[in-house]
Amino acid sequence: MSEQHDHDHDHDHDHDHAPITVDEKPGYFDLMETAVRELLIERKLFGADEIRRQIEVLDSRTPALGAKVVARAWTDADFKSRLLENGRTGCEELGITFYDDTQLIVLENTPAVHNLIVCTLCSCYPRPVLGLPPDWYKLKPYRARAVYEPRAVLEEFGTSIPDDVEIRVSDSTAIIRYLVLPMRPVGTEHLNEAQLADLVTRDAMIGVIQVGYDREAA
């Protein structure tokens, strides 16, 4: 990522340098983060290597992982049933580790049910599978409204769900995280797993949009 990051790979330093190349003074909260971290490392509560390692873990988590899970579920019925039974072990089958204590429930969208995930109290999100959430997911308008007027929220994302389709909003508050398994778009029978994964977006796995496929454009 950064120059500092590359530099850290050369040797396993047991102390953190300030970045070697800086062109501006760090902000107040940036300084506070460095100060808190360094004080705790000096007190041997954890090592600098643990922070570096966790940054690498965070960098390795992107919606591409979730897309891989979805595409596998679309193409392998046995995998899909294991995934719906236990989301965490299903993802682990594909090599996606869970670095926290959370469990995962995969919510399947069908012609009868459309799922949407939100965290009204904070910003719970399936980080091991999707990476970090977008800002809008953590801000008040989405958190406040998704549980009250989900259809209006979906419309703002350009998603229109017919009235005879049930909307299920999962408000994530404790040990469970959710991942929406979107419906496979029609006309994709000829696509392989990797091509299918390319169609799956982060927002579709949050449930604010559906997965689309435009054969002409593809």
Binding site: P26, E33, A35, V36, L39, Q54, D100, L139
Partner: protein
């Protein structure tokens, strides 16, 4: 309701509140924000500050700070407060350390926006 709702309903408990249009904002984390996130995870792994304590720490900043500080600004301030409460750090130690860290950049022009 009088003032009791300031106590009974936490500032982050906003499900169902009236709110405006969803602006689809997102940003790539700044380096310090990513470090702050990694710090949060490591603090939780060691149960120095577990995830739930972090949430409680953010809520206890109160509505004004929750409204005005950015996401990771709230986290790092909450961590500092919790570490003080637990007797792991003192406010003075943190202030001294922050000055020391700032001193490393004494030859760098201050281009921060206030």
């Amino acid at each position: 309701m009088g003032t009791e709702n300031l106590v009974r309903k936490l500032p982050n408990d906003i499900g169902g509140d009236e709110a405006g249009k969803i602006e689809r904002v997102e940003h790539e984390l700044l380096p310090w924000e990513k470090r702050c996130h990694a710090l949060a995870d490591v603090l939780d792994f060691h149960k120095i500050i577990n995830t739930e304590e972090k949430r409680r720490g953010v809520e206890s900043l109160g509505a004004e700070m929750i409204g005005k500080l950015s996401y990771y600004e709230r986290w790092i301030v909450a961590f500092a407060n919790i570490l003080f409460q637990k007797g792991i750090l003192t406010p003075g130690e943190l202030a001294v350390k922050m000055s020391e860290v700032e001193g490393r950049f004494s030859d760098v022009p201050d281009t921060r926006q206030s």
